[in-house]
């Protein structure tokens, strides 16, 4: 009986889709196209992209803004536009403060009739923008901020998240550690507030999946002999036994020296070594090589997590437009938020947004610097309805109230 029900649902879905098709199926190639513009807001001087405390000009993290990801998606939608009679484009604008961005949002929404906006900004700015846009025909997409709070107490009904939350990335890693039977974890964390956020998120995932944290130790960047217990990797990793070291390093300047310097010969995970990602250039399944090659050819660089999220958010908007068969904001937004959305993120499993916190449910890639080792959810981590919801905040445990 259970097999019949989805077939029935699917059939209904099809009646729905096919009923809109007459307006889509026959659009001739040369017909007039109506512009459809997606807004793109970014915070200038966003500290997340500033050069970290780099020494000798060595950059240890990407400083590229994810705009290219959205542009790649628009580029891929040319022919969908041909079929729909729409001409897709992006309107990019940046400003140095949240107040300025709110003015930009008003300008684009009121004068440019733009309803959908990708936003590349940190938590506080996203919060103010979503508050400002409340009650209007506006839907915002977070493409770069992994902060768990945005999927919890600081969530907003008009703010969708294409980038995974930190909790999703850590749950994925925790599942991998459990599956590998590397259950005793030594946690090393840096001195900055972001390091604490990273460590706390992992500790939550460790509790959720039954990992045992043998110690949490703080490191500092430096060579002061009076602080060697905090700046010497061998000392930091001695005196206790563990299967694996988790590094919480938001800057990346210490973490990169942890692998191969631990007192015990143990793998390193977290911010360094084996890392959870939304996307990876080395992913070779589910059509990913095509997307990566296309991206590298066009932009002369590899697609990052945030590039992918901007790409996926743009695709979600365009797919919802095509499926709902209209450009009416309420219909498109309703489709996008519904379980009918089947978003192909080139990670093999159809993706959709979780209704309880607007987070895009998606597989997470567990990677080294040049290979994808596993794709979470790992086999054997079960869920009553949706395996991907073993990653991040599930319905019953979520703290988001719209």
């Amino acid at each position: 009986m259970t097999e019949k029900a989805p077939a029935f649902v699917c059939f209904f879905f099809f009646l729905l889709v096919t009923s809109f098709l007459p307006s889509i199926g026959h659009v001739a190639v040369a017909s007039e196209k109506t512009p459809f513009v997606i807004g793109y807001l970014e915070l200038e001087g966003d500290p997340r992209y500033e050069a970290p405390r780099a020494y000798a000009g060595i950059e240890v993290r990407s400083r590229h803004r994810p705009f290219d990801g959205a542009a790649a998606s628009i580029r891929s939608s040319r022919v969908t536009g041909r079929a729909l009679g729409l001409d897709f484009s992006l309107k990019r604008t940046s400003a140095p403060t949240a107040d300025d961005l709110m003015r930009e949002l008003d300008r684009l929404a009121d004068n440019g009739s733009i309803n959908f906006f990708l936003v590349d900004a940190p938590t506080d700015v996203l919060g103010r923008l979503s508050e400002h846009a409340r009650g209007r025909d506006i839907l915002l997409f977070n493409v770069s901020e992994m902060d768990n709070a945005l999927r919890g107490d600081a969530c907003a009904a008009n703010l969708m998240h294409a980038i995974p939350s930190r909790a999703m990335l850590d749950d994925a890693l925790a599942q991998f550690l459990v599956a590998s039977r590397w259950k005793r974890v030594l946690v090393l964390k840096g001195e900055f507030p972001d390091d604490t956020l990273i460590a706390e998120s992992f500790l939550e995932s460790a509790r959720k999946y039954g990992l045992s944290v043998v110690d949490v130790r703080e490191f500092v960047l430096g060579s002061d002999p009076r602080e060697r217990h905090k700046n010497n990797i061998v000392l930091l990793t001695s005196g206790v036994d563990y299967d694996v070291v988790f590094v919480a390093d938001s800057i990346g300047q210490v973490g990169r020296y942890v692998p191969y310097q631990t007192a015990n010969p143990r793998p390193v995970v977290g911010s360094e070594g084996l890392v959870s990602h939304a996307w990876h250039w080395g992913w070779e399944r589910h059509g990913a090589p095509q997307l990566n090659q296309r991206y590298e050819r066009k932009f002369d660089r590899r697609m990052s997590d945030r590039d992918w999220a901007a790409w996926a958010a743009t695709k979600a908007i365009i797919d919802s437009l095509a499926r709902s068969g209209t450009t009416d904001f309420d219909s498109v937004a309703a489709y996008l938020k519904s379980s009918k959305l089947i978003l192909d993120g080139y990670k093999g499993t159809p993706m959709s947004f979780r209704p309880w916190d607007n987070q895009l449910r998606q597989p997470v890639l567990i990677t080294t610097h040049n290979a994808v080792i596993a794709r979470a959810p790992m086999d054997g981590f079960l869920h009553p309805t949706q395996y991907m919801d073993t990653l991040g905040y599930d319905g019953p445990e979520n703290r988001c109230k719209f």
């Binding site: 099809f14 098709l21 199926g25 939608s77 095509a322």
Partner: protein, 338 residues
């Protein structure tokens, strides 16, 4: 997945082979010219860059040979004397002699070919060109691209109608089926279908075009006259969830009664009743079943299992897998010359 002892199978296989040989002698199908069939099966292995050669009667692996990099789609030439292999990583289509497996030529500068089809007269090859998001028309006499048609991103499945007037191409990334007029090289219609369309099959009367939608886990059925979706087939083998069902290759039998659909990550082949569009049975095969081929007598269905590096041979009468045979790494396409 072990399908019984080899001894009993080879005895049965020999009998099957003798039977096939007799049928081959007695019945000359009008579709192909009366050439002696080699009885060989060619399997392209996209990750080991080689082609495995099997005996269609005994199911034994005869040998394998190196080919260009990432070999995927394969097709026989018009008279079956040669076959074409698309090599995605070398951007070329290699041509081999069917009888010997000897390389007889290459069509160069075809960007990342994956699947393709030939015109009924065997003179033109239609191939999806991923780099340019286009379908390229290749003149086989000169081996030059004579036309390009702009399509959606990641064009994939290609199928030509029997009269050669129309070619269908699926755009994986844009969820579109493009209907192309081959005479004018123009897109007649862009049909929005379900997520990640991959391959096609036409019913024998060519009134219905079946297209697999990999990520939606369904096959959409398009009316070839109105270009509208008129139905669909939904798959869900026992023990699997919707998101694990990823149909790719599909075939319809000559009598138009049965369709076989490889369900990808669901590790099954669905046997579909074409008139009622309902699933008759699910048959367990290897991991990530994609490529399909039917023997000439339609008594065996050959299935390429990409993630278990093997081929499953399914008896279409009993719907049982009678043998699974290890081939190269990530088998993709199958050609049977019987």
């Amino acid at each position: 997945m072990n399908m019984g002892s080899n001894a009993s199978i080879s005895a049965k296989s020999i009998l099957t082979g003798v039977f096939i040989a007799i049928v081959g002698l007695l019945v000359v199908t009008p579709v192909t010219p009366a050439m002696s069939k080699t009885g060989l099966v060619y399997v392209s292995n996209e990750k080991s860059n080689d082609i495995t050669v099997l005996d269609s009667a005994t199911y034994e692996v005869l040998r394998s040979f190196d080919t260009c990099r990432r070999p995927r789609g394969m097709h026989f030439s018009h008279d079956r004397s040669e076959f074409y292999v698309g090599c995605a990583d070398d951007s070329q289509i290699a041509i081999y002699k069917t009888a010997t497996g000897e390389l007889s030529g290459r069509i160069l500068n075809i960007e990342e070919p994956e699947t393709f089809d030939l015109s009924p007269d065997g003179k033109t090859l239609y191939v999806s060109n991923e780099e340019d998001a286009a379908a390229s028309f290749v003149d086989l006499a000169t081996r030059q691209v004579i036309d390009d048609v702009e399509l959606g991103e990641e064009p994939e499945g290609v199928l030509v109608t029997r009269d050669g007037s129309t070619v269908y191409v699926a755009s994986e990334a844009n969820n579109l089926v493009h209907v192309i007029n081959t005479a004018t090289a123009e897109v007649v219609a862009d049909i929005l279908v379900d997520v990640r369309p991959r391959r096609f099959a036409l019913t024998p009367d060519e009134k219905e075009l079946w297209v697999s939608a990999e990520l939606a886990g369904v096959v959409d059925i398009i009316d070839t006259t109105t270009h509208k979706i008129i139905g669909d087939v939904f798959f869900l083998p026992t023990g699997f969830r919707k998101e694990q069902v990823t149909p790719v290759d599909l075939l319809i039998t000559r009598d138009g009664m049965t369709a076989y659909v490889a369900l990808g990550r669901a590790n099954h082949v669905a046997v579909v009743d074409v008139p009622t569009r309902s699933v008759r049975e699910y048959v367990l095969v290897g991991k990530r079943a994609w490529g399909l081929a039917l023997s000439a007598d339609e008594k065996t269905l050959w299935v390429a299992n990409g993630l278990s590096d093997d081929i499953s041979i399914l008896d279409t009468a009993s719907l049982k897998v009678i043998k699974s045979i290890p081939v190269g790494k990530v088998p993709y396409g199958i050609l049977i010359d019987d």
